[in-house]
């Protein structure tokens, strides 16, 4: 219960669809979504497989609480080998797609092989079909969504789609559902594109059964009360969204600016949550129209924005004149301070383009930033960029790059490689601010030391959502630690990594953990699912998942050398702010982290660790 107990297996090479029962013995060990789908993937593919070849598989997976009455219980994840990273990839998305898949009666869809021609999949309750996608191949996410709903005469469908970026195998392309929610990172959209799979459209009319209905309702009601009464999840996130962090992180001196050359951005306020909620000088309207919630969410942190119609970026481009998914902090930082652009309307427009064409705005923004540094150093010129004056701070250049990248036109084709391949091509791989090929998110690890270890050891390449120690180091949740100190960070990172892996396997949103601990989550899982689910067991399960992902990466060819940070962060001290004079102390933290994990000095889980975790 919680689980539907059924999975769909779609082989695109053969054009076959099979159903099979969920491995309940694995569900007990890995719960669902991230953990359980990763277990399927590691059992079924060779870790050395080409991520863009037909032998890679991709799994669209829900958790046992997806589609239930639990707050934020609408999440799903895409698990595959990442196109950007060549490592395990797990990209999580909200919206309504995940819940709809459960309502249709499925825990997950495993996609295998490669279709000889573009197709899309429909899952309408227990009826699953492969359709020709010839008419929407080459179309945007938004146009394809509309076309599929019209074609099947069902506006209630929820659809996960790749844009042209995924078709063109831009290495950081994402999969967008419900128009502006995305399984964003590691290039899962490129994997989908490599399989000639344009979209999965689902419609479900069943409910989700739970083990003990009365107990589940009580547990979810109590947990919702915790979210509501907590000042962050009850008021801060719905009102200001994640974007409230812009001024916080800037003030704390951890705002990556101009490809991490600086740690504070003079234009931060112009692109912050406060600016989004202030009437614009140009037309007196606010950029932010309202907030929005994913399925079943009582937090509602999403942003809906509308761009000033007179802004240069959307002249004669009516597709951007309507309200759509606005800036989250990660997009605003990557597109803004990291490129030196403080034009809020331009950033919003580029964010719209990322949703329309299916680009991860973090990796896109960070790749443009790296290209701007190459341009600044004269390593690329206008000749390389096709005439774009790629100066830091140029909103025009940023907009132009966004319009070219998804379509893989001109210099956009090179930007689509991601920062590591781009900087390597021009002789300066050190200028790529990435780990395992994936670009950093919005925290400079000279100013928030724990995030350096988080990035270096993240199984999917640089990522904040694998262990968000910012919560403790800056925001004081669950308790305050010193962001400039390395002491105690290995244990903090490990605890966050394990707990997050459990949350990511449940169907719940990790943002709940600003208010909830596993003590709030375990009773909900326990009331919904067969078996006993204590907070301690969830922590152990998280550790098991972390080690399983690590073993996959080691077998794919990663070693301790890849648990590293770009030279800039460990050798160029921060120039200003609280971290002035500091570099990241990764070398101090990493050996202790390996030890706490029960890994060898080379970062390999010992046999003892593996058998303790039933791996």
């Amino acid at each position: 219960m919680g689980w539907t107990g059924k999975i769909l297996r779609v082989n695109l090479t053969e054009g076959t669809i099979k159903t099979e029962p969920l491995r309940m013995d694995w569900a007990r060990l890995y719960l669902g979504q991230r953990g359980l789908a990763t277990k399927y993937l590691v059992e079924e593919i060779n870790p050395k497989v080409d991520p863009l070849g037909p032998d890679n598989k991709m799994i669209f997976a829900t958790g046992p609480l997806t589609g239930t009455a639990a707050s934020t219980g609408g999440r799903y994840s895409v698990i595959t080998k990442g196109a950007l990273t060549n490592a395990i990839a797990c990209s999580n998305s909200g919206g309504y797609f995940g819940a709809e898949l459960k309502f249709a009666g499925w825990d997950m869809i495993i996609v295998e092989g490669k279709s000889p021609k573009p197709v899309y999949l429909t899952v309408i309750d227990d009826k699953c079909e492969i359709h020709d996608a010839g008419q929407i191949w080459g179309k945007s996410v938004w146009d394809s969504d509309e076309w599929i709903k019209k074609r099947h005469q069902d506006p209630m469908m929820h659809i996960s789609i790749i844009g042209v970026a995924g078709e063109n195998q831009v290495l950081y392309s994402c999969i967008v559902n419900d128009l502006h929610r995305a399984a964003g990172r590691s290039g899962v959209g490129a994997v989908m594109g490599s399989k000639n799979l344009k979209a999965i459209a689902v419609r479900g009319t069943n409910g989700v059964k739970v083990k003990d209905g009365m107990r589940f309702l009580k547990a979810t009601r109590e947990a919702k009360k915790v979210l509501q009464e907590n000042a962050v999840t009850g008021a801060g996130l719905p009102t200001y969204g994640t974007q409230v962090l812009m001024n916080v992180i800037n003030e704390a001196g951890a705002m990556p600016t101009r490809n991490h050359r600086q740690v504070q951005f003079e234009g931060a306020h112009d692109i912050s949550a406060e600016a989004m909620a202030t009437p614009r000088k140009s037309d007196g309207q606010k950029n932010l129209l309202t907030n929005q919630a994913c399925f079943g969410c009582t937090i509602a942190c999403g942003r809906i924005s509308k761009i000033d119609e007179k802004h240069f970026s959307i002249q004669n481009k009516p597709q951007y004149w309507h309200a759509s998914g606005g800036l989250e902090y990660e997009a605003a930082w990557a597109l803004g301070s990291n490129t030196g652009v403080n034009d809020l309307e331009a950033l919003t427009m580029v964010n719209f383009v990322c949703n329309e064409q299916g680009l991860d705005p973090i990796s896109f923004g960070a790749t443009v930033s790296a290209a701007m540094e190459l341009y600044d150093l004269g390593l690329i010129t206008k000749e390389t960029t096709g005439g774009i004056d790629l100066k830091f701070g140029s909103a025009e250049a940023l907009v132009k790059c966004a319009e070219l990248t998804g379509k893989a036109e001109g210099f956009g084709k090179e930007l689509g490689l991601g920062s590591l391949r781009l900087c390597t091509k021009y002789g300066r791989p050190d200028l790529s601010m990435s780990v395992k090929g994936q670009e950093f998110p919005a925290y400079d690890s000279r100013g928030i030391q724990g995030m350096g270890l988080t990035y270096a050891t993240s199984n999917r390449g640089a990522c904040h959502l694998r262990s968000y120690t910012v919560s403790s180091e800056i925001l004081g949740i669950p308790e305050k630690t010193d962001p400039l100190a390395t002491d105690g960070k290995p244990a903090l990172v490990k605890a966050f990594q394990d707990a997050t892996a459990a949350v990511d396997s449940s169907g719940l949103c990790v943002f709940t953990t600003f208010a909830w601990t596993l003590n709030d989550i375990a009773p909900q899982v326990d009331a919904a699912c067969e078996g006993d689910w204590s907070p301690e067991y969830l922590m152990e399960l998280g550790e098991r998942i972390w080690n399983m992902e690590r073993v996959f990466n080691n077998r794919a060819g990663f070693t301790a050398k890849d648990d590293n940070l770009p030279p800039r962060l460990v050798s160029e001290p921060a120039e200003a702010g609280p971290a002035k004079g500091l570099v990241n102390g990764l070398a101090k933290m990493l050996p202790e982290y390996y030890q706490l994990r029960g890994w060898t000095a080379d970062g390999v889980p010992t046999n003892e660790t593996l058998s303790r975790l039933a791996l």
Binding site: A231, G236, V244, A273, L475, F511, P578
Partner: protein, 102 residues
């Protein structure tokens, strides 16, 4: 800095050695407690030398329970020290109610 509100009594401040100027930054819902005419969520304010963090915030009616994240020149100030840490000329004090993101 462009847009920053200028203190109304600049001349007096310069001539009064017991008064210092600091930058007060109040974000999210606390922006409402900034002096009129501020821009970009910050204002330059004059205070008597020796004023503590809490005293400055009290003077601007910032509710105590809303002083969640308090950064003095970017460094976190826990509640226990806010009544004793004295502001120095040129300090920047930034305050948020409970917020988070990701």
């Amino acid at each position: 800095m462009a847009g920053r509100a200028r203190p109304l009594d600049t001349d007096r401040i310069v001539s009064d050695p017991s008064t210092i100027t600091v930058t007060l930054k109040l974000y999210a819902s606390l922006g409402a407690f900034l002096p009129a005419g501020h821009a970009r969520n910050e204002a330059t304010v004059s205070v008597r030398d020796g004023t503590t963090i809490d005293a400055l915030l009290d003077g601007h009616n910032v509710p105590r329970e809303s002083r969640h994240l308090v950064l003095l020149n970017g460094h976190f100030q826990p509640p226990a020290v806010r009544g004793s840490v004295k502001l120095k000329a040129g300090d920047a004090l930034a305050v948020w109610p409970p917020v988070a993101g990701g």
